[in-house]
């Protein structure tokens, strides 16, 4: 099972949630090159959202180089090579977003030890991959 989870009450738009969720599945290796994603219509029907919402998410992932969208074959995962470069701007943006996110969830009442546990877990996953 490859589960895509979307929260309709989340402040993040559904299109963004789809992009983020599929990207996590791709980075974690749950989706591999050659795997097909559901057709836009099918996923939109199951989520109860407009076709354009799913199409936009797929297009974003295509632009990022994760997917190849064919007229007949639909969306398919492609192998994507990323240069292991040290871009200072990317690093800074990542650090800033991470700090913002930690502050936000802390402000919303998530206990510090829980946040630390999640970050450790994430770090371990990264080290293993």
């Amino acid at each position: 099972m490859i589960i895509l989870r979307v929260d309709l009450k989340s402040p993040a738009p559904v299109y963004r949630q789809i992009v983020d969720a599929v990207r996590i599945l791709l980075v974690n290796g749950d989706l591999s090159p050659g795997d097909a994603l559901p057709p836009v219509r099918r996923l939109a029907l199951d989520l109860g959202v407009h076709f354009n919402t799913v199409a936009e998410a797929y297009r974003t992932l295509e632009e990022e180089g994760w997917l190849e969208i064919g007229r007949r074959s639909g969306a398919r995962v492609v192998s994507r090579t990323v240069e292991n470069r040290c871009d200072p701007q990317t690093g800074e943006a990542f650090e800033r977003r991470l700090r913002e996110m930690v502050a936000e969830v802390q402000a919303r009442g998530l206990p510090r030890d829980r946040i630390a546990r999640e970050l450790r877990l994430l770090a371990k996953t990264l080290e293993r991959s």
Partner: protein
């Protein structure tokens, strides 16, 4: 008492019985078309609402049966029973809204779920239509072998409406039959491709898939049965063949209906765990009018699960639904014009 009345009154009581059990067939976290906590059904408030609904249904059924028996007013009896059912449902729906629960806002989709396909493929669904096209071609080449008149309607005692054999009546009759078959094939295809899947993970998904497949099979079986009258009309076999056809069709519908009812709406019997956030059917309560009519322009689905009863209903907020409805009106209208 006429034979019709003797058959009609038990039919009213049977329908009353179906209305009686209908609230128990819905998904466990839907009660009278309102999203509720799964354990709400067992509460005293739920039992009181259910009791009132059933009392209204049975009072209407008894008065309708009395009308049919005493005055032979069949149409009025059917209308009265339907009004009683609707009144009971709408008042129960209003009462349950006070206990509505916020459904889970989290949707899960298994991206690895395979696409569901028509059983036997497209050819199996298209065969009845193709057989009628073949019959039309045969008729074109063997016009002299056709009877001078042919039946276009059948009752309990056999054919009760006949028309003269002309190109308009023959080809019109075949076209209407083919159109009905096409609609049933379209319904089967639409259920697989244009309906909302509520569960795509776990046991609920498997049960729902099974439920949907049963309805698709029922549509295709009915399509095969409904292609037969065209052959009966033009070749006029013995009455026994027609009776066997009628009995077999009724038996198939009853068998499928019983199977669907046993599984509950969407195959949902016992798939919801008490204490969890209700999932419902992922459609907003506010989009259901009187618990029966679904109007949601933001939902791309054309077909969604009914919230009360078994099967699917149309999303009247989708403009394609109106195209489907217009097509549904074309067949009877064409039939009336061509077979006058």
């Amino acid at each position: 008492m006429s034979t019709e009345t003797m058959l009609f009154v038990p039919l009213l009581i049977l329908i009353g019985g179906l209305f009686h059990i209908m609230p128990g067939l819905t998904r466990p976290d839907l009660f009278f078309a309102v999203t509720v906590a799964p354990e709400f059904r067992r509460s005293s408030a739920a039992r009181r609402i259910l009791g009132r609904y059933r009392a209204i249904v049975w009072i209407a059924t008894l008065i309708a049966s009395g009308l049919a028996l005493a005055a032979g007013m069949a149409v009025a009896a059917v209308l009265l029973q339907a009004i009683g059912y609707l009144w009971g449902l709408v008042s129960a729906n209003r009462a349950v809204r006070a206990y509505a629960a916020a459904p889970s806002s989290v949707l899960e989709v298994d991206l690895a779920t395979p696409q569901e396909r028509l059983p036997g493929g497209l050819l199996v669904a298209a065969l009845p239509v193709l057989s009628l096209v073949a019959l039309g071609l045969w008729v074109g080449f063997h016009w002299d072998r056709l009877p001078r008149r042919f039946p276009v309607h059948w009752g309990i005692d056999g054919a009760d409406r006949w028309v003269n054999t002309t190109p308009a009546t023959v080809f019109g009759f075949l076209a209407v039959q083919a159109f009905v078959c096409l609609l049933l094939a379209g319904l089967a295809w639409g259920l697989l491709n244009w309906s909302r899947r509520i569960s795509t993970t776990g046991a609920g998904a498997a049960a729902e898939r099974h439920f949907r497949r049963r309805i698709v099979q029922l549509s295709i079986v009915c399509e095969y049965f409904l292609a037969c009258p065209a052959w009966f009309a033009l070749f006029q076999p013995a009455a026994a063949a027609m009776n066997a056809w009628g009995l077999a069709l009724a038996a198939a519908i009853v068998a499928f209906t019983v199977s669907l009812m046993r599984g509950g709406q969407g195959g949902s019997n016992a798939t919801v765990t008490a204490g969890t956030a209700p999932v419902g059917d992922h459609t907003p309560d506010a989009c259901w009018k009187w618990g029966l009519v679904y109007v949601n322009p933001a939902d791309p689905s054309i077909l969604v699960e009914k919230r009360f009863g078994i099967g699917y209903t149309l999303n009247f907020g989708n403009r394609w639904t109106w195209v489907v409805l217009a097509l549904l009106l074309v067949a009877p209208a064409a039939g009336l014009i061509l077979l006058r």
